[in-house]
Amino acid sequence: MDDTASIYEHEPSFYAEHKKVYPQRVSGTFRTLKWAILGLTLAAYYLLPFVRWDRGPNAPDQAILVDLPGGRFYFFFIEIWPQEVYYFTGLLIFAAIALFLMNAIAGRVWCGYMCPQTVWTDLFLMVERWTEGDRRARMMLDAAPWSVSKAYKKASKHLMWLVIAWWTGGAWVLYFADAPTLVYELATFQAPATAWMWIGILTLTTYVLAGFARDQVCTYMCPWPRIQAALTDEEALNVTYKFDRGDPRHALKRAAALEAKGERVGDCVDCYQCVAVCPTGVDIRNGLQLECIQCGLCIDACDTVMTKIGRPTGLIGYDTDLNIERRLKGEPTKIRLIRPRTIIYVAVLIAVGGLMLSQFLTRDEFDISALHDRNPQFVLLSDGGVRNGYTVRLLNKQLERRTFALTLTGLPGSRLEVVGVDPLADGSLEIGVPPDTTRAVRVLVFAPANAKASGSTAVTFEAVEKASGERIRVEDFFKWPGQ
């Protein structure tokens, strides 16, 4: 028999059937913690659009608002203009390093407790348990032939899922418009088409991702498990089955019999409770694996069993492989949270956060820019004088109307004209800029006839804000005829 034939004798399947996971109900420390985080994060997500924040009459009073048509982002006392998008870049860097730090301390904390995929899947699972029963009941229901009762259970589950999914999409659009107004418009079917479209898209994604895709998202779609595996080290705490204590595994009675014979037996009674409660359906006793989101539910399950049979808890727990080796060698265990990796992450976090904070605290609320006319660069006038034209932009980030007095230095004997603005009695030019706005004015600079010069002369536009006396400046050039 040659090699070619042997390939065709056993043809393994290259496509895996989807194995539905039926996570079992569990209670304990980590389940309680997860419920608390679920409650907090969902409450924040659904309620934050309704929180008000008074900014005076010239800005919206919604605490968190992405105003796309107006090009503004409001976050409580912070207001970001489009050109300040680097704050978001900073925020993303901060979030990434925070993720790395969490990972270096206690593994996939994000995945297990805070990721929206985990939180919404947990919520959808709660509905599933409520309508169809716990693990065994659900497995039997799925295997049973169709009946009125099965159809009723399934239909009510999907209906509740869709309602939750609709609210998820509904809450999302509230971040992009005045929430109470939009809720009223949605209720009276007057909301804009984009709102309905986005609610529709997010209803669909929530329904599919939390109802059906679930663990498949983490296992096949999400890049973080792969990155996480590359970033972890042997000192990071992870949800670990302590095989030094658990193995060899035997059922309770057999273990007693073997022990009576003087053989060593482990604490694990092979009850498979850790597998039954796992939302991704893995066996934690096989060690750290890609599919494990480290939610800690197997710890709760194992602790419950250990308490019941009177053995110490913590057979599964946050630990490191290094500690298992140390215990096997009879050495004391230790946990090193402070090590170069975590110190560097914290240092980078402080640096990025500090940079952003200092940028924010010293950020300019007024700004000026000047754009010299490109064609023509200068105009020779009938009295022999020379005129240059500029577009001057005055930026006012404050939520009140501000007035700027505009002057020019660097060109003796020159005169300034702002198109559409009449000079005051003392000759000064005052330009009002509406709240939270940039105003562009056309400025004409006249050089007198006797000021013969060639090439260009450096000039400076200066604007003084009347209320605060703050000065803003921009440098430019005055072009003369001839080189």
């Binding site: 056993h10 064609n375 105009v379 009938s382 022999g384």
Partner: protein, 288 residues
């Protein structure tokens, strides 16, 4: 005879394929992933049927929706033009001062005036309207035929020395070519004219020049040399020279006359476009 082969190191089944002793592990793709691929293929069939997709003889297939990006642009342009039409209608009825007073009309007139200037006027006056020798700079404060809104509108409509019944017209004699003045006389009057704006001219007798100016030039250009916009006679006393202010330039202007031409735009562009052009040109000199 199934001989399932398990890799010793990883505990994962192999595909059974072997290349030079290397075996591939079988980490199967989930079936829903494959179904997703098939779903996208089915989607693409619908897409191919509905939209232009396949290269074909005489252009790509049209698709059942008969959609094309060019057609979409045409639709958008049509909608934009319909929207603009209301503004054009208002420009047609409004007078020039009203256009300038209405911010929305002004913005529209400025934008469309600038576009029309680029299409029709820039070849002579330049894209920035800064002009050239012989072609007036429209940014300055010196106007041959007047710089008010109405003056500018008339000049654009009827042109200068153009084929139009009411065209702006005048004819300065070619004093040298027609034998009215001799060379020295021309130099003298050139010197006098240049002196009006404070320039000295070598070899010119200013007293003789003054007498010749009073005899030949004063009726159009005025006693003080400030010209006459009614007649289109240039101001000779300021710093702006359409054909140059050097001695030789002025001598040639007097000896041969210049008589530049601008076409009339009546009938060549819409009356509404002339209005928009007027508002735009008027703004260039800081009139806005």
């Amino acid at each position: 005879m199934a001989n399932k082969e398990i890799d010793e190191l990883s505990g994962i089944e192999t595909t059974g394929h072997e290349w030079d002793g290397l075996k591939e592990l079988n980490n199967p793709l989930p079936k829903w992933w494959v179904w997703t691929l098939y779903a996208t293929i089915i989607w693409s069939i619908g897409y191919i049927l509905l939209y232009p997709a396949l290269p074909w003889f005489g252009g790509p297939t049209k698709g059942l929706l008969d959609w094309s990006s060019r057609g979409a642009v045409r639709q958008e342009l049509k909608a934009a033009r319909a929207e603009q039409q209301t503004l054009w209608d208002r420009i047609e009825t409004a007078d020039l001062a009203e256009i300038r007073a209405d911010p929305k009309l002004l913005e529209f007139a400025m934008a469309s005036g600038k576009a029309a200037f680029g299409d029709n006027c820039a070849p002579c006056h330049g894209s920035g309207a800064a002009g050239l020798t012989g072609y007036p700079n429209l940014n300055d404060d010196d106007w041959l035929w007047g710089g008010t809104l109405e003056d500018i509108k008339t000049t654009i409509s009827v042109g200068v020395r153009a084929v139009h019944d009411e065209t702006r017209d005048n004819a300065m004699p070619a004093f040298g070519r027609d034998g009215i003045l001799d060379k020295q006389q021309i130099l003298d009057v050139a010197g006098f004219v240049r002196a009006l704006s404070g320039q000295a001219t070598k070899g010119a007798n200013l007293d003789d020049g003054a007498i010749i100016y009073a005899e030949q030039c004063v009726s159009c250009h005025g006693e003080d040399g400030r010209g006459n916009q009614e007649l289109g006679a240039p101001n000779l006393a300021n710093g702006i020279w359409l054909y140059g202010g050097g001695t030789q330039d002025v001598v040639v202007s007097i000896a041969s006359s210049r008589n530049g031409v601008m076409p009339s735009w009546d009938g060549r562009v819409e009356p509404t476009v002339i209005k928009a052009l007027t508002v735009y040109v008027h703004s260039l000199g800081g009139g806005l």
